[in-house]
């Protein structure tokens, strides 16, 4: 005779209750749980997984939002890979933006976090003030403000002229400089990684620095031999998150270039190009293919980051 395993669940009066047998009874028992899960399930299947799968399908079609999509096989991907100079331009701009903005933002965030970690008075207030740009940074309003600051008659050029007598260029409309204004805007939003760096710095035990002090290590050696290695888990996290964010950056480029990615495609972020294809030219199938290439790019970067982590990230346990 086999003995059926019984799972005991605490009842309201702490009396063990046997789990009912049978699918129907189990469903009946779990129904309240599913009821509470329903909003999330609707959101996940209806707004995340469903559209994602639909876009994957659409990426293999020719679809203009008006007529029904018709199957095009790998044509969209082939065209992206072989006959789309704007794709190449967008990739260049995006990679340049990622390569510049992520390290600069993280260096800036770490520098400010280290300053805060020295225990200055009124730290919570400063922390909030310095975090503020991160809340506002990617918004349309701030992007508009940025456009005003870096315009040919903007505040930056005014300051340059008044203080140094330098006549600055039109930073935004000059293709040599426009991308850098967006990089600076990104660096300005250093609050989020700064808070994470600050939390990481607080985790480094003081007595390790004291031991290093007794070992004769000065501030520079302590930074490179103690602080940086012990911060690597936090650096790793920030690099991954900020890089993903940088790949997905859209609003600043859209606002500053008025949606064109100009001048001369110098601010044509990948997501902006994707947006143009989808909503300006109504090439939804092509845009879906672009979106999936972005997904693959981000996934590849993330995978490489995780694979490389074992060589440079030091975990305590």
């Amino acid at each position: 005779m086999s003995v059926q395993p019984t799972t005991w669940v605490e009842g309201p009066a702490h009396r063990p209750v046997a789990r009912p047998k049978g699918l129907r009874l189990a469903w009946g028992r779990n129904a309240p749980a599913y009821l509470f899960l329903t909003p999330w399930l609707i959101g996940f299947f209806g707004l995340t997984l469903g559209p994602a799968l639909a876009s994957l399908y659409l990426s293999f079609t020719d679809y203009d939002l008006i007529q029904a999509p018709h199957w095009a096989g790998a044509a969209n991907y082939v065209r992206i890979a072989t006959a789309d100079p704007k794709f190449v331009a967008a990739m260049k701009v995006t990679f340049l933006y990622v390569a510049l903005s992520v390290p600069l933002k993280l260096i800036f965030a770490l520098a400010i976090a280290m300053m805060f970690n020295r225990g200055i008075r009124g730290l919570p207030i400063y922390r909030a003030i310095f975090y503020l740009p991160s809340l506002l940074g990617a918004s349309v309003a701030i992007s508009v403000l940025w456009r005003q600051l870096f315009a040919s008659d903007g505040l930056i050029n005014l300051v340059l002229w008044q203080l140094f007598g330098i006549e600055g260029p039109s930073w935004i409309s000059n293709p040599n400089y426009s991308i850098y204004t967006l990089v600076i805007l990104s660096v300005w939003q250093f609050g989020s990684p700064m808070i994470i760096f600050l939390a990481g710095l607080r985790q480094v035990p003081t007595d390790i620095y004291e031991a290093a002090n007794l070992d004769g290590a000065g501030p520079v050696r302590q930074f490179f031999r103690i602080t940086l290695p012990l911060l690597t888990p936090v650096i790793f996290f920030n690099v991954v998150i900020q890089t993903i964010d940088a790949f997905k950056a859209f609003t600043p480029a859209f606002v500053i270039s008025s949606g064109t990615g100009g001048p001369i495609n110098s601010t044509l972020f990948y997501t902006l190009y994707l947006y143009q294809e989808a909503f300006s030219f109504l090439r939804m199938g092509y845009a879906s293919a672009l979106a999936w290439i972005l997904v693959v790019m981000i996934a590849t970067f993330t995978a490489i980051s995780f694979l490389s982590a074992r060589y440079w990230v030091h975990y305590d346990d």
Partner: protein, 360 residues
Amino acid sequence: MSTSIELRRIEKRFGSFTAIHGIDLSIAPGEFTVFVGPSGCGKSTLLRMIAGLEEITGGELLIAGEPMNDVPASKRGIAMVFQSYALYPHMSVYKNLAFGLETAGFKKDAIAERVKHAADILQIGPLLDRKPKALSGGQRQRVAIGRAIVREPKIFLFDEPLSNLDAELRVQMRVELAKLHQTLGNTMIYVTHDQVEAMTMADKIVVLREGRIMQVGRPLDLYNQPANRFVAGFIGSPKMNFLPARLAENDQSGRTILLGSQAIRLDQPVGARRNEPLTFGIRPEHLQASAAEGRPGLGAARVQLVEHLGGSAVIYADTAEGEPATLLMEGQTGLRSGETIPLAFDLKDAHIFGEDGRRI
């Protein structure tokens, strides 16, 4: 290589709070000195001031006769072992030991030689390639000591280094540290709140309380002649028994004190004021559960609890006046709770403390 340390009116203030009140202390070259006291007494602060990790607010610190107040920690010729070990978690044991030498600009061969020497002393050779997370508590402690040894300092400082170890390992490491001191012969200062560690390891004990030195002396001097009630209670385990006492008014010689209903005639007059509240102190190991003709005693006491330790027994009893009294008896005993026993002692083992706590 060893050196002397001298503290002259050393003070430490944190804002309006004074943690160390003008301490004077001399530590001879090669001496193993233990700072002992309860939590918050300032022993670690004092050690950190000697190390250079804490600024000295007032007074003067001399190492080998040289003023050290403004000398950076790394230039004082000291090495310190931290309570938490403070190993660099991302470095191998070898790198942990070598870090200070690399910083000092030693060549690779010299570093390797010193690390090997320290590893041999501490028997951590097989651990050199491991990271601290792969070590047990005892191994980490050895590495922390090794990191101190490789620098060949003039002075070793230990800040409660054994407090994170289990009881067995603590005893083992205690013995090893004592041997290490014998081998190296350096001046060592050791901070602990454990009076057993202090008694077993020290050449000299400094008992601290609320930032002040209560007594300095050799371990047995502190045990036999505690300067005050605090030291008497802190040194020795189980703790000394304290009972309220007063001078007998009808004895003009001032040699008789009253402990409740018991009158005890001392060998010498007590230098106390008339009616001054006194404290009579007797160590648990100096009380006997037997009455003998002519021996002073505390009268009959009722046994409350007996702890059998095998080689000895601790008996918790109450005197006739309801004062608690603890006895430490060698061997095993058949005493049980509720029994009444007489408590006797030798006069030479008794201590009398005045109202201000000083021994009189």
